[in-house]
């Protein structure tokens, strides 16, 4: 049983405060959705947790089983078990999907040797095991062999990029996955496939944070908790019914209620 605990997180970008103190605990086995209007800080939250250099953490902690991730370099956060499915994944021309996945898996499996020399001990996944894992997940995401021979995200459609993000999530088997607007830019068929890919990830060992603008994807992926993010704060938390309420009444309703309550 693991937990990802976000404590009083304050983040700024280029001197402007975007997140104003986020508190959120995600236990493994649970799925949380964060919903919010444009500019509310949804992507900032995901990128700050992962360690994007543009996002400056002013205050707070992100603890993975008590270890503050914010003190670690980006790759160490990934190795610790956090995965971010990007809203806008980058292309890596000349590196095939298959090569990228296998290299990443082997890089993640390599560990500093126990003798304290700082040397990295390789522990490559045997090729047959890799092939089997890849084939299973390709089937799940409905992609064929031509997909994995193409360069990572190079010339990919929006739907293909999102499939690759989910494929990576399954290949890397993280303990916590943050999915940043994975539903954006997808037609209904692609949305279904991607949502099934997310749903298939659900397990007692994995915690998920689903960041979304629309309620649409929550018809396929059923969160245990829904949080509403407005102006860099979580202003409401509820169950699945909160998503439906938001969809019906809009974010303005929450914002008005919030500021009315304060006045």
């Amino acid at each position: 049983m693991s937990s990802l605990e976000i404590k009083d997180l304050v983040v700024s970008v280029e001197g402007k405060t975007i997140l104003n103190g986020i508190d959120l605990v995600i236990e493994s086995g649970s799925v949380h959705a964060i919903m919010g209007p444009n500019g509310s800080g949804k992507s900032t939250l995901s990128l700050a947790i992962m360690g994007h250099p543009k996002y400056k953490v002013e205050r707070g902690q992100v603890l993975l089983d008590g270890v503050n991730l914010l003190k670690l370099p980006v790759d160490a956060r990934a190795r610790a078990g956090v995965f971010l499915a990007f809203q806008y994944p980058s292309a890596i021309p000349g590196v095939s999907v298959a090569n990228f996945l296998r290299t990443a898996i082997n890089a993640r499996r390599a560990a500093p040797s126990a003798d304290g020399t700082g040397e990295i001990k390789k522990n490559d996944m045997p090729i047959p095991q890799f092939r089997k894992l890849l084939a299973e997940n390709m089937k799940l995401l409905g992609v064929d062999d031509s997909f994995i021979t193409r360069s990572v995200n190079d010339g990919f459609s929006g739907g293909e990029k999102k499939r690759l993000e989910i494929l990576q999530m399954h290949m890397f088997q993280p303990r916590f996955a943050i999915l940043d607007e994975t539903d954006s830019g997808l037609d209904i068929d692609a949305l279904k496939v991607v949502a099934e890919g997310i749903e298939a990830m659900r397990s007692p060992d994995v915690g998920m944070l689903l960041i979304t603008h629309y309620e649409r994807i929550l018809r396929y992926v059923h969160p245990d908790f829904v949080h509403v993010l407005v102006d860099g704060r979580i202003v409401r938390t509820g169950g699945r019914e909160l998503a439906a309420e938001l969809e019906a009444k809009g974010y303005e309703f929450v914002r008005e209620a919030l500021y009315a309550g304060r006045a």
Binding site: G51, D75, S90, A98, T103
Partner: protein, 425 residues
């Protein structure tokens, strides 16, 4: 000008006819070869030595010239092996040292020993190599219609020392023949020394030729090499130069298409670091209808390394329907690395299908690095992966898996091997 002064006085002295003659006599060379060397030495005059004012030489000051002897006493590179498949031997293919070939096959060597033309930027250095070439010189001849299936691979390793490494490679592919030649050049020791690998490739009508030159010279080496590719009608010629060493390079590459329907592809990979300077002058001349000449050079530049590329395309009058392109991409892996691509087009006909150039120089993107690192690669691994991907565009052009591996092996010390971890062979 002042910086080149000592050289201007020194080099003509070393290249006096006596020196050249003695070099030839000591090697028991035939008279015609000696005369060719003397003829070459006469091409080195004060007017052929770069002043530094030329467009090609403005960015590569010829200072700190190594002072070791230009005359090498080494006649054979240790361990060099000319391996040829039995069918090729039976078909009359010649693959041996240039002196050996001059003795055994003078009728084949002699027509090619005194090359004409050539871009002026390297006239002086070509003259030096042609006058004083020694160990490491090679002759390849493929008769009409003969196809050599296995790549010919030469590992040329110059032992430590400060003598110049002057060599000639002459490749003659007769009509409708085919071959791949790989030259893997290495030098040992750290002493400052000059290298002038002079390569001439003649692709006969309809011939298919691939030339791969890998340079892994030691840090003290000043490489002033020159290559000339001559393409007859309907031939297809591909070359790849890999700059994987630690020395300085100022290399001239000339491609002359002299016929209709010829295809030339000139590729280059540069992986340079420390304070290396890799400076390339290319000249793509297209004289033939519907012929094509394309160049693609990719550089990964680390530390304070600098890549300079001055390239010219010239399409001759009456060369209708040609296509030509020059592309030069530079990946800057340090804030102190730099690239200076300078394209020049001279189109002397109105009837071209395509002609152009593209050049870029840029750092690795922060977003791309962050993306790769979020997958568990550390910064160095992420960078390696991207350089490898960047180079793939050229490496994928190599059909032969062994040649591909050889190129990757040469690049590995600079660009790392992370991406190879993932190859599903």
């Amino acid at each position: 000008m002042a910086s080149t002064a000592p050289v201007e006085t020194r080099l003509p002295l070393l290249l006096d006819p006596k020196t050249v003659e003695q070099h030839s006599l000591r090697r028991d060379e035939p008279d015609w070869l000696r005369q060719a060397r003397l003829e070459a030495s006469r091409r080195l005059g004060s007017d052929s030595w770069p002043t530094g004012e030329e467009e090609e030489w403005r960015r590569f000051p010829l200072k700190d010239l190594p002072t070791g002897s230009l005359v090498s006493t080494l006649d054979h590179l240790p361990g060099i092996q000319f391996k040829l498949e039995p069918q090729a031997t039976a078909a009359g293919v010649i693959f041996k040292g240039l002196l050996r070939a001059s003795l055994d096959n003078p009728e084949l060597v002699r027509p090619h020993i005194a090359p004409g033309g050539g871009i002026p930027s390297h006239t002086a250095f070509r003259a030096i190599a042609d006058a004083l070439w020694s160990a490491g010189s090679t002759f390849v001849h493929v008769p009409v219609g003969v196809e050599v299936h296995q790549p010919l691979v030469l590992e040329k390793v110059w032992p430590a020392g400060d003598e110049a490494m002057l060599s000639r490679t002459i490749v003659v592919a007769e009509r409708d023949s085919s071959l791949t030649l790989v030259e893997d050049l290495t030098s040992e020791g750290d002493a400052p020394r000059i290298a002038i690998p002079h390569v001439e490739v003649h692709a006969g009508a309809g011939a298919h030729v691939t030339y791969v030159g890998i340079r892994r010279f030691a840090p003290g080496v000043l490489d002033l090499g020159f290559q000339q590719f001559r393409s007859a009608r309907d031939s297809e010629l591909r070359s790849l130069n890999v700059f994987a060493g630690a020395g300085r390079s100022k290399v001239g590459i000339e491609s002359d298409i002299e016929g209709d329907g010829a295809v030339v592809k000139l590729f280059g990979l540069v992986a340079a670091g420390d304070s290396q300077r890799i400076d390339i002058n290319s000249y793509q001349d297209v004289d033939g209808r519907s012929s094509q000449s394309d160049l693609l050079y990719l550089s990964a530049l680390y530390d304070r390394a600098k890549a300079i590329f001055y390239g010219k395309i010239r399409v001759e009058p009456n060369s209708h329907g040609t296509g030509s392109y020059q592309e030069c991409r530079n990946m800057l892996l340090s804030k102190d690395a730099g690239a200076d691509p300078i394209p020049v087009l001279e189109i002397l006909t109105n009837d071209v299908v395509r002609c152009g150039h593209g050049a870029t120089a840029g750092a690795l993107g922060d977003e791309e690095l962050f993306y790769a690192m979020s997958r568990g690669f550390d910064r160095d691994q992420a960078q390696q992966l991207m350089v490898h991907g960047f180079f793939r565009r050229v490496i994928n052009q190599l059909d032969d898996e062994h040649v591909r591996q050889r190129v990757l092996n040469a690049l590995r010390p600079r660009i790392g091997n992370i991406a190879e971890m993932g190859v599903l062979a």
